[in-house]
């Protein structure tokens, strides 16, 4: 790897938990090979590069940028645009950048609601804010105007913001997958642009549990039953998302009796992850009676969005919950039958 002239590598984080940055270290001692092949020009979590230095670079000067996190603020959007311009290859690294992930679940709310819960209602992280002070994008001071990033109503994925060359799935991506991607980039053996770097099968294919016929009379939450360790969890009534989820993790969760929650994102050919899950689950409900079907779903799937769009809401066909400020339609119902 080290014979070639050194390339330039940037890593950046936007709306994410920081886990993706840590995941990079999962490649272990091979990080030294990365350091031999690349100068790391920007990695806020671990290295001392400056945005200012990136701004001064020529367009396309960075060989590879691994970008994790979704786009929630104007600052993140600015960095996405900047790094897009300066990088030959831009990789959406991890679920947040690829599909929105957990930060994207806040698309069930808007800016005002999020600020209410963080700055007004108070929680363990915010002391009482009796003056109801909120972040303002602009504050006038004698020295000039101070800016804070503008907070968006809707979290966007990286490719809803700028053009993305490759996707590395996972929350966070697995060390071996990261290494495979880096090697492919260094050796120039990349799949066609726009591809997801990873397997093209589902978690079910990696899962060691025995499957027979799926027929379900009742869905259970994980705490309601003690699942048999050898039989497919879905057949036991647990909502396991292995059927729609891209392989690559090795089926870690079902291996320890925990259903797949879909952190590796949709497999190829799945346009809307939640729709795929709804379709697959509905198909295995063991009833032809409309009322019984409704009952099974009402009791067993009280929160379809949370269960089926946990990682993919921001990249789904609808992207977010209807905003109360939208259109002139009647006020949207917010309650599901179950609640």
């Amino acid at each position: 790897m080290s014979e070639k002239p050194k390339g330039k590598l940037a890593l950046y984080w936007a709306a994410s938990c920081g886990g993706c940055d840590i995941a990079v270290l999962q490649i272990g001692a091979r990080i030294l090979d990365v350091a031999a092949a690349f100068d790391i020009v920007l990695w806020p979590c671990a290295a001392d590069g400056k945005v200012r230095d990136v701004e001064k670079m020529a367009d396309g000067e960075i060989d590879v940028c691994l970008f994790n996190g979704g786009i929630r603020t104007s600052e993140q959007e600015y960095m996405a645009q900047l790094l897009r311009r300066k990088s030959k290859v831009l990789v959406a690294f991890g679920s947040c950048a690829q599909e929105g992930c957990i930060p994207g679940l806040a698309n069930m709310n808007n800016r005002r609601e999020i600020f209410d819960s963080v700055y007004k209602e108070g929680s363990a992280t915010t002391p009482e804010n009796s003056d109801d002070v909120r972040p303002q994008p602009e504050t006038e001071m004698p020295e000039g105007t101070l800016h804070l990033p503008v907070f968006y109503d809707t979290l966007k994925t990286l490719n809803q913001t700028v053009e993305v060359d490759y996707y590395l799935p996972g929350c966070p991506p697995e060390g071996d997958m990261i290494w495979t991607a880096i090697t492919a980039i260094v050796e120039g053996k990349l799949p066609p642009p726009g591809s997801v770097i990873g397997a093209n099968t589902t978690v079910c294919d990696e899962c060691k549990r025995t499957r027979t016929e799926k027929k379900i009379k009742k869905f259970y939450r994980t705490w309601q039953i003690k699942p048999d360790p050898d039989i497919c969890l879905l057949e036991q009534g647990l909502i396991c998302c292995g059927i729609a989820t891209r392989a690559g993790c090795g089926g870690l969760c079902p291996e320890v009796n925990s259903p797949c929650i879909g952190c590796h994102g949709p497999n190829d050919g799945v346009q809307d992850y939640g729709a795929r899950m709804m379709s697959a689950l509905a198909s295995v409900i063991d009833s032809d009676d409309p009322e019984e079907i409704e009952q099974i779903i009402r009791d067993g799937v009280p929160d379809p969005v949370g269960s089926f769009y946990r990682f993919s809401l921001a990249s789904s066909l609808l992207r977010r919950k209807k905003r109360s400020t939208n259109g002139n339609g009647a006020a949207a119902a917010t309650k599901t039958k179950a609640s």
Binding site: T154, K321, N328, G329, T334
Partner: protein, 165 residues
């Protein structure tokens, strides 16, 4: 909140073997029904993936209808039971996203039931008209200040003093 000028856009997925023929029959029999449904012919209601429904809404539909053969009469045996279950699942999910349940309708109509189909179309059109337009893509619009903020970052970075190392 009815707006007189609002004509609901409704997408109808109609099964080739029954409801599609029923809509034909309604047409040839000159039954009057609301002109708001854009019909898409499918080979079976079981072909209607929840993805289609969501895509229709995302692309601007105000309502969606799925119509198939009566339970037990599906040309592909059990498929319309799957439709029934998928529909129940999507009905559970839509209100969470702020889409009223009344914007979707599942209808069983045999090839002879042009009248029933026409009535169902009228009912759905009326329900959707009452609810008003959905305008889904407007949910993605920014909440203001984005362009200005992006420009401000560039300006600030240009004007900031270099830190001497």
């Amino acid at each position: 909140m009815s707006d007189d000028s609002f004509e609901p856009k409704i997408v109808g997925f109609l099964c080739n073997w029954c409801s599609y023929t029923a809509s034909d029959l309604a047409g040839t029999a000159r039954m009057k029904y609301a002109p708001n449904v854009r019909i898409i012919r499918v080979m079976c209601s079981g072909r209607v993936d929840p993805t289609f429904l969501l895509k229709a809404f995302a692309m601007g539909a105000d309502g969606v209808m799925i119509a198939g053969c009566h339970p037990g009469d599906c040309h592909y045996q059990q498929q319309n039971y799957k439709t029934m279950r998928r529909y129940a699942m999507i009905e559970q999910m839509l209100p969470q996203m702020g889409i009223e349940r009344e914007r979707v309708k599942l209808v069983w109509a045999s090839a002879a039931e042009g009248q029933q189909l026409a009535e169902a179309i009228d009912e759905l059109s009326e329900a959707v008209r009452k609810l008003g337009p959905l305008n889904w893509s407007r949910n993605w619009e920014e909440n203001g200040g984005r362009i200005e903020a992006l420009e401000a970052i560039v300006k600030e970075h240009e004007e900031a003093l270099e830190v001497q190392s």
